[in-house]
Amino acid sequence: MDALLLHAGIADSRMWAPQVEALEAAGHSVVAPDLPGYGDAALERGELSYVDVAASHLSGPAAVVGCSFGGRIALELAVDRPELVERLVLVGAGLGSWDWSEETQADFAEEEALLEQGDLAGAAAQQARMWLAPDATVAARELTEAMTLRSYEQQLPMEELVTATWPQPPAAERLAEIAVPTLVVVGTADLADIRAMADRLASHIPGARLERIEGAGHLPSFERPDELNRLLLDFLR
């Protein structure tokens, strides 16, 4: 099966390395692009539709796997371009709009303050602390910091020059229309907000299955790669 892997907003395609290995070994044909503004993919001034970008990597129906921000894109794609999505996997997926808890808002504000001071490395480290499980390995922290730092370098100079556009009405209001087999995955150590989003996705998408990965934070793809691989291989069989 063709599989499109869409990375998180604190990451880039490197977050999927363990899944690329496992899925390709099982005979799936994987594409894991860097989204514009992440990794090696530069932003261009003007309007940017991440849903169109995701669709541009598909030549036909595929399994679409998205984590966090990539999960939001996968969700919007499943609603807006259902002919392209054969299976949907939402890992710690974001919903377009959400009433974030005060605690999470305080964390976002801390990141913003560090960025305003020009402390990009400090902000990246803060993001790793915010999103990964407390017992995440040094390697997981370093990778998260490197990917987040890279996204700042790509995005901050272009901040005022790019406008992201999304399908309307948003997928969050159209979850009942999703008719493809859907797997919702969330780490038990992810933010309470994200765990609540997973509950909502699983209860509002018809037939969706919810799986929790014990001890994983927001990026189970490398925090708990074996567990996520097992779920993916089983679901895409």
Partner: protein, 123 residues
């Protein structure tokens, strides 16, 4: 796709090339073209004639062979394309970019002059 020479620094990180003397590595760098490959794009197609040897500088590539379900993934530092050149046969596998990737490649004459001996030593 942009074509620019590879750098000695980039090539020195390829395990296979670590044994090459500096002078030869310099020569090789001048003759290897660097290419950026977008995610999802094909690099080699099984059955096609093979006339270049490749090293992977960044990104991940997948190697597949018709009839075999299992695929192999290449990571930075890996190389490919040597079978068709060494044995003078069509490509024995297809190679596709999983993520955006950067490869460097050289032609058969360069492979024969500078790289073929490295494979002979392996045997």
């Amino acid at each position: 796709m942009r074509h620019v020479p590879a750098t000695v620094h980039e090539l020195s990180r390829i395990g296979l090339l670590a044994g090459l003397p500096g002078e030869q590595l310099n020569k090789l760098a001048g003759r290897m073209a660097r290419e950026e490959v977008p995610a999802g794009a094909g690099v080699l197609e099984q059955g096609e004639p093979g006339d270049r040897f490749y090293v992977l500088l960044s990104g991940m590539l997948a190697v597949s062979q018709e009839g075999f379900g299992r695929r192999r993934v290449l990571r930075p530092g890996d190389y490919f394309g040597e079978v068709a050149l060494a044995m003078d046969i069509p490509r024995t596998a297809s190679v596709r970019a999983v993520t955006a990737a950067v490869v460097a490649s050289c032609d058969k004459a360069t492979f024969d002059e500078l790289l073929r001996p490295l494979f002979a030593e392996d045997e």
